[in-house]
Each structure stands twice: as C-alpha cells, then as structure tokens.
C-alpha cells in the first residue's frame, strides 16, 4: 500500500478530515459562477479556490475603479481601467493551480437578454451586489433551470445572503450531538443472545470490571422489566432507582466496601440517554410521508429511492425502526468484549442494509432502472445516516417578493425586537427601492447624505405599505443606511466571503446542512439571524 500521500492529499489534508475524499471529489467536479468580482465576490471565490473547486467563471461587465482596488485583495492598481472580471480572475487563479479560472466580460443583464441558458451549465451561481431587477430576473431563470442560486451582498456594516434552491437533500448532515442507536429498549435477537452470553454474577473480578456498560445496563434492564411489568424507567424517580439497582451490582471487597469499577460508573452515567425509547424522528417521518417518497419514477433521484426503500424496511422488516446504525461509543472494557459487542451491532447493521438494498433493487426494477444505478456503498452510507437525513427547500425569490406570497408573519414576528436583524433586511429592500427610483444608492457622496434620508424614508414607507407590514422602522436605521453610502468595507465582505463559501461547499458536497433561506450579519453588534422568507 502506498504510504506516501499525493501532493493534493497533503495540501487538502485538513479539509479532507471534514468532508472526506468523496466530498473533495464533488468539489473538484463543480463549476461555480460568480457575478460581480467586488470584494465580497472575490472573498467568496478565494474560499472556494483554496479548497480546490473544479472551476469558476466570473461574469462582470464593470471596469476596475480606484475604489474597487482599495477594498479588494484580488485587484491591484495596475488593473484600474481594465475589465474587472479578467483582473480578478488572474489573481484568484494564482491562488491554486488545481483550479480552472474563467471570465466573461459582460453584464449579467446582457447575458440574460441574449443567452440566459449560459447559466444552465453551472453547479451553483453566486450573485454579488446585484440590483434588485437583475437579481429577480436571474432568480427566475435559475429556478426554472434548477440551478442553485446564492445571493450575497455587503452593504455598509451589514452582510446578507439568500439561498434559492428548490430541493436540496443531505445524507451526511454530520449532526453535532447525535444520540447513539443502541436499541436497549428493544434489543434485536442477536443483541439479546449476546447479552445472554454474559453471567455478571458468575464472573471473575477482572471480567466484571471490564464488561461494557451497554451489557450492564441491558442486564439490569432485564431485572427491572421483570419487576415493573416490562416498562422502561420513565421518570426521574424511576431512573434514579434504576441507577441504584446498577450501583448495587458493583463488586464489594471482603470488608464490604465497593470496588472501583469504572464500567459500572459509566453505566450509571449513561442511563439517562441509553434508555431513550428507540424511535424515528419527526423530521425523518416527514420525509417518509412526502410526495417524492410516495411517487417513485425513473426520474426520481437516488436519495428518494433510498428513502422509500428504508420506509419499506421500517414497515416490513424493521419492526417500525430504522436500520441499525452499527456504531457504539468507546467504553471501559477489555478489547475482546468491546470488539465482540461492536461486531454484534456492525453485523446487524450490515444485515439491515442488505435488506434495504433488496428494496432498492425492486424499486429500481419497477421503474426500469438497473440496480447498479445505486451502489452498495451508497446504500450503506444512507442506512448509517438514516436518522440524520435532511432536506432543505427554499421558496423562490418571486414568492418572497410577491405581495400575495410575502411571508408577513416571519417579518412582523421578527420585528418584535425592533433592533434585531430583520430591520436590516427591510432596510436592504428599501435601498433597492431607492436604487430603482434614483438609479443610485443613497448617500454615496457626502452632500447627498442629508437629503437622501427623507427620500429613503419614503421608500421604507412605500415598501411597508405595499406589503401591508404593520411594523415601524426607526429613523436611526434610515440615517445609518444613508451614512453607509453603499460602502463595501473589506472586513464585512470577508465575513460574508467565509459564510457564503461554506454554504456553497455544503451545496456542492451535499454534506452538512445549508441555511434556509435568508441570513443577515450585523457587524455593529456582531450578531446574526436566519429567516425563512
């Protein structure tokens, strides 16, 4: 086996430990489009180029200005007057020779006029500092073409992101604090017989102190069941009593004092979580009851075919439960006992996965697809993650912006704390309105700041009125947004750059869960909020 790692493996080592080789492969097969290489744009791309995105294309019709160079690490003063897409591509390309950098010297509006299908080729389109009209046009094209769209902007000390994707499925969500799948409340046959092979009372001292806590809890649970009508310890009192029962099982020395048996302490400590009844989360249940799961056709993506197969398993083979996950946490035990116990879970998981596999096969057959279209490896991975499946569905921009379908509740409820991030969202919508009316943003030049405040206030009021939003926006925010003069300070652009890039990586690798669907960053207070609009 070759032990020397390839140069790429070495370079990407620190991130491979997060999304694995398969995640990296997805990244390297992706082609991302960035519209507008302002500082926010180039910072987003930097964080995609460094980890090795396959290719990027910058679409930008602007020429580099002096102020562009001032806040952008990927433009220098030699590029003033040149096309911004080209200038930025050079310095971004230089970051990583694995990546293919391209540019189109054109405004997105022109492309939408002449060649909207240009955007269909991309894995993801990222639109930065887009005027509202362009944003909505592009949003509509991408929605119909099923290309994910990430809208980003930096406006003064405010960062904003909007994710637009019809449906994004995630198998590997990597939850931070996942509960173990131990089945102690309903041990499967092989686990039962393995537990039976232990005789706690008849064991020698060394074995007793190195028996895995899972076995200990199981054994005492059997005792408890026989004395409590096969009911799990339910409340605090019963759980404490159960813990006492286990504690009494600790070996005592000749004087009658309890020995130090760490495995028993572990058992007691884990009682609270170990006795959680095995059940399917509402999130996963929703997936089972969803349309995509019910109507399997030859167009159905693999995710839904597998979800349906697992549902079949749950209903026919799993006794109402998901396939066994197959992993157990580390615990005090001698190697043999631990490995044997681990293998009981692993083998059951493999068995369950192969039953699921049969269901996948018959589903594929029923729609005329070869069984090789979904690999054994994918099915195993799916089963291991069955409890953590996630689906993100975002509303379209059209829905967000339409008076008929605007999410009034989300807006008014969030405006309860009048200084929260929602007011910043409303201000961004208002400056867009200002731009539509005046072909510029408020307060760009010093002399404009005062007079633009009242103009911007009109925009705020017309926005609130048009959407029937019964909220009030403090004058301070109107003043502040004039003060910003649509500036794009680098640190805020960089914060957004990191945030947006990671969401892009989540979409591309299909690992970890993207936000849904509006994210606002307030650099004044260093706070953020996510809304579903």
């Amino acid at each position: 086996m070759a032990a020397t790692k390839s140069a790429k493996e070495q370079k990407y080592d620190r991130q491979l430990r997060l999304w694995g080789d398969h995640g990296q492969e997805e990244l390297e097969n992706a082609h991302v489009c960035l519209i507008n290489s302002t500082a926010s744009g180039t910072e987003i791309l930097k964080n995609l180029v460094l980890p090795g995105i396959g290719a990027f294309t910058i679409v930008d019709g602007h020429k580099v200005s002096g102020e562009d160079v001032g806040n952008n690490f990927f433009l220098n003063n030699n590029s003033i007057g040149r096309n911004r897409a080209q200038a930025a591509t050079e310095l971004l390309q230089e970051l990583n020779t694995d990546v293919s950098g391209n540019f189109v010297e054109e405004s997105p509006d022109k492309l939408l006029d002449n060649d909207p299908e240009f955007f269909h080729r991309f894995t993801l389109v990222i639109g930065v500092q887009l005027p509202e009209s362009t944003c909505l046009r592009l949003g509509s094209v991408l929605w119909n073409a099923n290309v994910p769209f990430l809208v980003c902007r930096t406006y003064g000390l405010v960062g904003y992101m909007r994710l637009v994707v019809k449906e994004h499925t995630v198998i590997e969500s990597h939850p931070d604090n996942a509960l173990e799948d131990l089945r102690l409340d309903q041990p499967f046959a092989e686990l039962k017989s393995h537990i039976q092979s232990y005789d706690l009372e008849g064991m020698g001292k060394k074995d007793h102190g190195h028996t895995p806590w899972i076995i200990i809890v199981a054994k005492y649970l059997e005792k408890w069941f026989s004395e409590h009508n096969f009911q799990l310890p339910k409340n605090y009192k019963e759980k404490e009593a159960f813990k006492q029962l286990i504690r009494q099982g600790i070996l005592k020395n000749e004087k009658g004092t309890p020995e130090v048996e760490e495995n028993f302490e572990e058992a007691i400590k884990n009682v609270n979580t170990a006795l959680n009844p095995t059940k399917i989360s509402s999130g996963v249940d929703d997936l089972f009851n969803g349309e995509q799961c019910n109507d399997i056709t030859s167009q159905t993506p693999a995710f839904w075919v597998m979800t349906r197969a697992v549902r079949e398993f749950v209903q026919n083979d799993g006794g109402g439960n998901l396939p066994v996950r197959g992993s157990i946490p580390d615990m005090i035990a001698d190697s043999e006992k631990f490995i044997n116990l681990q293998n009981v879970y692993r083998e059951k998981a493999m068995q369950d996965a192969s039953v699921v596999s049969k269901h996948v096969e018959s589903l594929l057959q029923s729609v005329g697809k070869p069984s090789e279209s979904i690999s054994e490896q994918d099915i195993k991975l799916f089963c291991k993650n069955a409890a953590f499946l996630r689906v993100v569905r975002c509303r379209s921009l059209a829905e967000e912006y339409s008076v008929e379908t605007v999410n009034k509740d989300a807006i008014t409820c969030s405006m309860d704390g009048a200084d929260g991030e929602m007011v910043l969202y409303l201000m961004l919508r208002s400056v867009d309105r200002f731009y539509q009316q005046h072909s510029r943003y408020p307060g760009v030049y010093n002399y404009q700041v005062e007079e633009d405040i009242s103009k911007l206030k009109l925009c705020v009021n017309s926005l609130l009125q048009e959407y029937g939003l019964n909220v009030s926006v403090k004058d301070d925010y109107i003043h502040e947004f004039c003060r910003y003069g649509a500036a794009e300070p680098h640190t805020v652009a960089s914060f957004l750059g990191g945030s947006a890039a990671q969401e892009a990586i989540k979409l591309i690798t299909r690992q970890f869960v993207p936000f849904n669907n509006t994210f606002v960053y307030n650099a004044m207070s260093q706070t953020t909020a996510t809304f579903q609009l």
């Binding site: 620190r14 102020e67 003063n77 970051l95 003043h479 640190t491 990191g498 990671q502």
Partner: protein, 462 residues
C-alpha cells in the same frame, strides 16, 4: 543634440515622469490613488446614530490609521493571514506579525499568503512580503520568533493586539503579558496603560472572537472553564486494552517507540517526518490486527500523532473578519466594540451566539485578589502540585514552586530543568510542615501559562 536643448528636454522628461507617477499612483509614499479609501471613509468622516460616544467624524482619522496606529498580529497561520489582509485593506499600515513556525504543505488549503515554493520558510517573513507587495504602502514587519522572546518594551508600543493562535497556553501568556503592563495609581487603573486584546480561535466549522480590555473586562483566565482540558486516553487502555484504532496509534507512539527506538538512540518521534509516521502506521496496524480492531489508516495515524485539528479557509475568514472589524472599531472609535464574546458554528446553517463573558472575582490573573491555597500541614507537596495542574481555573502545565524560607528564596519543585527536577523531586513526597512552610506563607508559582509569577497564600487547614 545641441547642448542648449538638454535642460529643456530634461525638464520635459521630469514633468512626464511626475505626471506618470500621479496617474499610476506612484510608489514612494505608498502609492495612493483616487478613491482608494472610499469604502472606509464613510465610517470615519460621517456622523451617525450608532457611533461610539467618543466618536468624532473627521478627515484626520484615516491619517491616524494610515500613519500612526500600530497593530500587532500574533500568528501568521490560518487566522493570521486573513487578519493581515483584513487590516491592510482597512487602512492599517504599521503592522507587526509574530510567528515561530515555518510553512508546511498542509497549510496551503487556507493560509493563502503562502505557495508551494515557500514550504519550509518562516510564515511571518513570507506573509509580510506578500502583503507588502500586494498592498502598496503597507508595512508589515515580521518576527520569526516565539511570543515569549519579547518583553514588555516590545508589546508596549502597540495600540491594539490581535491574536490568531492555536494554543491556549500561548493565549494565556499573552493575556498575562498585557495584564502586567497595567498601571495602577492608588488602586485606580490608568486607562492609557490598557492595550486591547482581540482574540480569535477556530476549529473545523466552529470559531469564536472576543474583545478583552485587560483590567476592565473578562480576561482569558476569567473564562478558562470555556476551554475544557484535553482528555487523553487512560494508560491501561493504551497498554493492554485497546478498543479503537486511536488506542493502537497511541500505544506505538507512547510505548513502542521508546522501547524500539526505530531510528536510533535518542531520536524522538518527529511528527513531521513522513518516515516516522510511516513506521508508526505500520506498527499501529500490527497492534490493531492483534486485537481485531479495524480502521487504522495513514490519515488517522497522522491525525493522532500530530493531534491534528481539521481546518478550512471559510471559518478562518469569518473569525478573522470579525476580529479585524473590532480592531477597526476600537482604533477609529467608529462604533462600540463587541461586548465581548462571539461564538460561531456553521455545521447546520449558520449559528452565532454573542454574550458578555463576565470577569471572575477571584481570577488568578486579572483580579487583584491574592489566591489562597488551602492544605493541611501534613499534605504532601505533590498534592499542591496536582491542585495547580488539575484545578479548572488554574490548569497550569508544569508549575515551579518557590518560597522564602529563613530569609532565603528556596525552589521547592521545578520540572523544566532536568537537574533541578531531580534535585527537588524528593520534596514532592514531603509534607508542607516538613518542608518548613508556615501558615500564611506566600508561595511563588511560575508556569508557561503566564509571563508573571503568581503569588499564592498558603492557609493551613486543621
């Protein structure tokens, strides 16, 4: 060419050159060009409703940032590279950066100031060169050194210090250094002796940014419990009862290597040497096979030996940006700074939590409260040592304990110098009474976690 023409031609050439310089921005005094600072000027020149009470809009604030304000960046790695870029593009020109490391290939996925050709070179030097070349007028001064190589006279010159460190020990040391600079007059803190410390940390998809005004707000040690001590595997697991692939690797690293000395006597395991890792990997596989353990890979082996923490560009970008925003706010008084701790996690959507970490009344570092040690006179010195290392609020690494006995300064125990360790080791099994310590006695404790000696008062319990 007639001689008389020369001066005219020369004058015209000079005029051309000067004009060219104006258009190109010139390079001698930083190469300014039109509009360069537009994106930050609005925050410096315009009044606003959310500015700091001390803020005064002025066209001179920019000059302060450009010409006078001095920032120290600690670390030129994942956070450091981002910080240098962020500060340089926010108008800061006088920046020093300290980093004791050299560049490794595995840095290149996020430390964007470095290229393959730079591997092996000092991070501080390469980072400074890159920034100075890319941002005209910026003057980053590198220091290929440890933070401990400098004393108060070095740190005192900075207006603000930003840390992008990967070590809690280093953070605590920095914290202690800035606390030692504080000047108290009649018990009142002199505000001009305060150097704000902005601290950022990241790990995978998690990170945090905090603002510390030493002597005024919570310091690193006030919130030491937020950094739980690293848990190592129990020795009996490693030695005789492995269950996980990690146990197998630790066995080879801690027990087999010292026994077999595979690369010669006195050759320690170099985690950066692929040949060493390869040996550990092979032996770990053998160990795992013995116990029917699966999962030992080269990547896992390296991760365990080097204690690798996964890292990506995006998290570092976010946290550094938040820190740099705070530097800007404080330097310009444009806004009220973060008060005082922000936590970030983008595993599931994007999550932040911003709160005010509270000062600890009896913080061992920043409170002026003397620290008490309560022990029975018959307690062994070892117990005191254990307390200093294990107590959650102290978490010392290798404390050296000295006391004044019979008018003389006596080292009771010191670990970091072998000869002294051997000489003082017997003291560990002596009782405090045996060592001649008295009730109310002061013990001076030095440790790598702090640049200053900490004083403890010994209180005997009956």
């Amino acid at each position: 060419m007639a001689d008389t023409d020369e001066p005219e031609k020369k004058r015209r050439r000079v005029v051309e050159l000067t004009e060219k310089m104006v258009v190109d921005g010139g390079s001698r005094d930083g190469g300014e060009w039109d509009g360069r600072w537009n994106h930050i000027n609005t925050f410096l020149e315009r009044p606003g409703p959310f500015t700091h009470p001390d803020f005064e809009p002025s066209t001179e604030s920019l000059q302060f940032l450009l010409d006078t304000c001095k920032i120290l960046v600690i670390g030129a790695g994942g956070l450091g590279c981002e910080l240098l870029k962020d500060l340089a593009l926010s108008g800061f020109r006088h920046i020093h950066v300290v980093d004791m490391d050299t560049i490794d290939v595995s840095n290149l996925n996020r430390q964007f100031l470095f290229r393959l050709k730079d591997v092996g070179r000092p991070k501080a030097d390469i980072a400074a060169d890159f920034i100075n070349g890319r941002i005209p007028g910026c003057n980053v001064v590198p220091h290929f050194k440890k933070i401990q190589d400098f004393d108060e006279s070095f740190y005192r010159q900075f207006h603000i210090i930003v840390c992008g460190l990967d070590s809690i020990i280093a953070r605590r040391w920095m914290n202690g250094m800035l606390l030692s600079l504080l000047v108290y007059e009649d018990g009142v803190l002199d505000p001009s002796s305060i150097i704000p410390l902005i601290d950022g940390g990241t790990e995978g998809f998690k990170g945090n940014a905090r603002v510390i005004f030493p002597g005024m707000t919570a310091c690193i040690d006030c919130t030491l419990e937020l950094y739980p001590p690293q848990i190592n595997f129990p020795m009996c697991t490693i030695a005789s009862m492995p269950r996980l692939p990690e146990h197998c690797v630790e066995y080879v690293r801690m027990l087999l290597w010292p026994k077999e000395k595979p690369f010669g006597d006195g050759v320690g395991l170099d985690a950066d040497d692929p040949e060493h890792i390869q040996w550990v990997y092979q032996k770990s596989q053998e160990r795992a096979a013995e116990f029917s353990i699966t999962g030992v890979t080269y990547r896992l082996t390296q991760g365990v030996v080097k204690r690798i923490i996964p890292a990506v560009a995006s998290t570092n970008a976010v946290i550094a940006a938040a820190c740099a925003t705070e530097v800007f706010k404080i330097a310009s008084s444009a806004y009220i700074p973060l008060n005082n701790y922000m936590v970030f996690n983008d595993v599931d959507g994007l999550y932040t939590y911003t709160f005010e970490a509270e000062r600890k009344e009896n913080c061992s570092s920043c409170s002026q409260v003397p620290q008490d040690l309560h022990f029975s006179p018959s307690a062994k010195l070892q117990e005191v040592l254990d307390y200093l290392t294990e107590n959650a609020s102290l978490q010392m690494k290798s404390p050296a304990i000295t006391a004044t006995l019979e008018g003389k300064n006596k080292t009771l125990y010191l670990q970091t110098v072998t000869s002294i360790e051997q000489r003082t080791r017997p003291n560990l099994s002596k009782s405090l009474k045996e060592l001649g310590l008295l009730d109310g006695q002061e013990l001076a404790v030095a440790d790598v976690t702090t640049p200053q000696t900490l004083l403890f008062k010994l209180s005997f319990t009956s």
